[in-house]
Amino acid sequence: MNGVFPIAREELRLWLRSRLAFSALLVFALLLTATSVLTALRMSAEQQQRTGQQALAEETFLSQPDRHPHRMVHYGHYVFRVPPPLSVVDPGVDAVTGQSMFLEGHRQNTAMFADAGAGANLGGFDDLTAALVYQLFVPLLLIAMGHGLIVREREENTLAPLLAQNVTGVMLCLGKWIALAGVALVLLLPLFVMTALAAARGESLLTSAGLIGIYALYSLVWCSLILLVSALVRHRGLGLGILALFWLGAVLIVPRTAVESASTVVPAEGKLETDLRMQAELRAVGDGHNAGAPQFMRLRANLLAQYDVERVEDLPVNFRGVVAEVNEADVTDVLNKYAGERMALEARQARFAESFGWLSPVVAVSAGSRALSGTDLATHHRFLRKAEEVRFDFVQGLNRVHVEQLDYTIDINRSIDTASERLTRMSAENWNVLDEFSFEAAPASERLTRAAPALTMLSAWFLLLTAAVVFASRRIRP
């Protein structure tokens, strides 16, 4: 196998001396570096901005004056999904799922988006993330550089003298593969720097290494594919055409088909129909603002019996507060049921779409990249669940203040009696029921588990293509 490294070295020398290949490499390196820096700057700014907004939202809530606790329930609170450190590589679904949410009583609001100004400054160029460059454009560069690896030797009649030097087809292919893989791995340097920075900002080393690993594996898949095609075809133009078609299919057609077929195979009920069903269930639960509603008669009777009194005014707790508390729990059960169903359905659709990674390595790597970066749909769902936990806790905390600290008689007279209204204003210290919200992506082990299917698919791609290369290399003839 002595000839392997001279072959690799020679291929690299050819690229360095070829103005076209060298220029393409240089342009891509610049594009990659520029995109990486811009993505890193944008996501760092987003991180800082959202962290600041989160702190401001908490400060604003806590600085509210004394008032009726239920007014605070409706005053509400904002939570922000601070992007994880590895989002500097792959912002994932961040831009399309909303990054903040308004939390209030009896409702689960949808996530909202950042202000348009944040994304408009760079004229849309910021949409080109480092992850996209690695997923879509690095393969193009590898195709441009590597499509002639073997077929060029054939076309320029250098294959026969090469093989006549006792170089086997396997050695030739291995040498060429090492050269192309060397270029691919050098192109991963910006990724290495970004993940190192993310690790320095608290990201797990495991996920950082996993992200580098998955992109390295993805690049090697393309190296093997390019080498295989170059070994099989008789003309460079044909090889380039086949690889360009594969790229188009892998980058555009298969992902688009995956998304379309996911919504067909795993159909989702329309929002209107779902909302109508949910509203019907919520009506059955009752409106917690109306303690006299028939839905709360049994609660009223139970409480009176429990405390052995005749009238709600004689209860040691505020009946309206109890109704608000119980109703909040019941409403939340309904809301959580629908939210759970929606998230499960979205997850099923995502899993189905991701299974197209068996047909396109681009689909596999993008799924794995988002999972490892903590910017996938599962992370968004995790944000929704964490936000809901915060919402439910602070609303119920305020309801508990309503139950325990606010006299029922004063409470019902607050609309007709100014003095009573003043007495219903609870101390602002009670607003401390609000927990600090600090969203973090799932732990490294969980993200690695989520990325496992993508890693499996890419490994299968790599092994199959490499086996095919070995098979083809044994049949290389001048």
């Binding site: 072959i7 020398r13 050819l14 001396r17 320029e156 003298p161 090469l162 030097q165 006792n166 170089v167």
Partner: protein, 262 residues
């Protein structure tokens, strides 16, 4: 079977190489048949080349000359018969066979982005040979490549200059066997004479040379023996008579042209 020995009947006497023919052949094709893309390109070809002999396969385009060389290199598998190099079956001893052979392809196929030294260094490294600049210069001197051109990229070379570097590579490989495919194609008459002398020198140092060509004049001047190949079959053979410095060009030309016309 059309054997070169049989085909030689009626041609010139072949006593001059009797002694070497009695030795074990370095290269031998026995009833060789090759089929490529469903077409029979070699049919029942038999010849043996003794050590130190210069053997030319003469034929027109598509006669099967280059195919014969590729078969000795193990790039093609015989459909019938077989080829042997130094007594070894080529298909079963590919590594040993290729180590023993230096091959000069038809189009002087070297890399345009490399200079002469880099080309030689690369191919020699692949063959497991590491030679210094002095040795390379010595070989390039032998093929008379101008020193000023040696450091220039070969994409600026003429066809003849590239051919000289390829010949230098064959010399530097220092193998007992040389397979030369149209080695004088593209060379000027002076360079052809120089090349013929070089080939003769190499044969005199014990190397066995099989060259394929359609150049009747060149083959008659350099070869000890010529086999005439037409449509994949051996149709005639000529030996250099004792005491003569070349094979009778007119006889070969007549046979070649006559066969071609037929």
């Amino acid at each position: 079977m059309v054997d070169s020995d049989k085909a030689a009947s009626g041609s010139q006497a072949r006593t001059s190489r009797e002694s070497s023919h009695n030795k074990a052949p370095v290269l031998a094709a026995e009833s060789l048949g090759i089929v490529r893309s469903g077409r029979q390109v070699l049919k029942d070809v038999t010849f043996r080349i003794a050590p130190g002999e210069i053997h030319a396969l003469l034929g027109g385009n598509g006669a099967g000359k280059s195919t014969t060389l590729l078969t000795f290199l193990g790039f093609l598998t015989p459909a019938s018969g077989g080829v042997q190099v130094q007594g070894r079956d080529v298909g079963k001893n590919l590594n040993e066979v290729r180590r023993a052979i230096a091959y000069l392809p038809e189009a002087a196929s070297l890399y345009g982005h490399l200079n002469a030294y880099e080309n030689l260094g690369y191919f020699l490294a692949l063959a497991g040979t590491d030679l210094d600049r002095e040795a390379l210069d010595e070989a390039l001197d032998r093929v008379a490549l101008q020193p000023g051109a040696r450091g220039m990229r070969m994409q600026t070379y003429s066809k003849g200059m590239r051919q000289k570097v390829a010949i230098a590579l064959a010399i530097l490989r220092d193998t007992p066997i040389l397979l030369l495919d149209e080695p004088t194609s593209g060379l000027d008459p002076v360079a052809i004479d120089d090349f013929n002398r070089l080939v003769r020198d190499l044969a005199d140092t014990g190397r066995t040379i099989l060259l394929v060509t359609h150049d009747v004049y060149g083959a008659c001047h350099v070869a000890d023996r010529i086999d005439l190949l037409q449509n994949g079959e051996l149709v005639g053979a000529f030996d250099r008579p004792p005491g003569m410095d070349r094979i009778d060009t007119e006889a070969v030309h007549e046979a070649f042209a006559g066969r071609a016309a037929a």
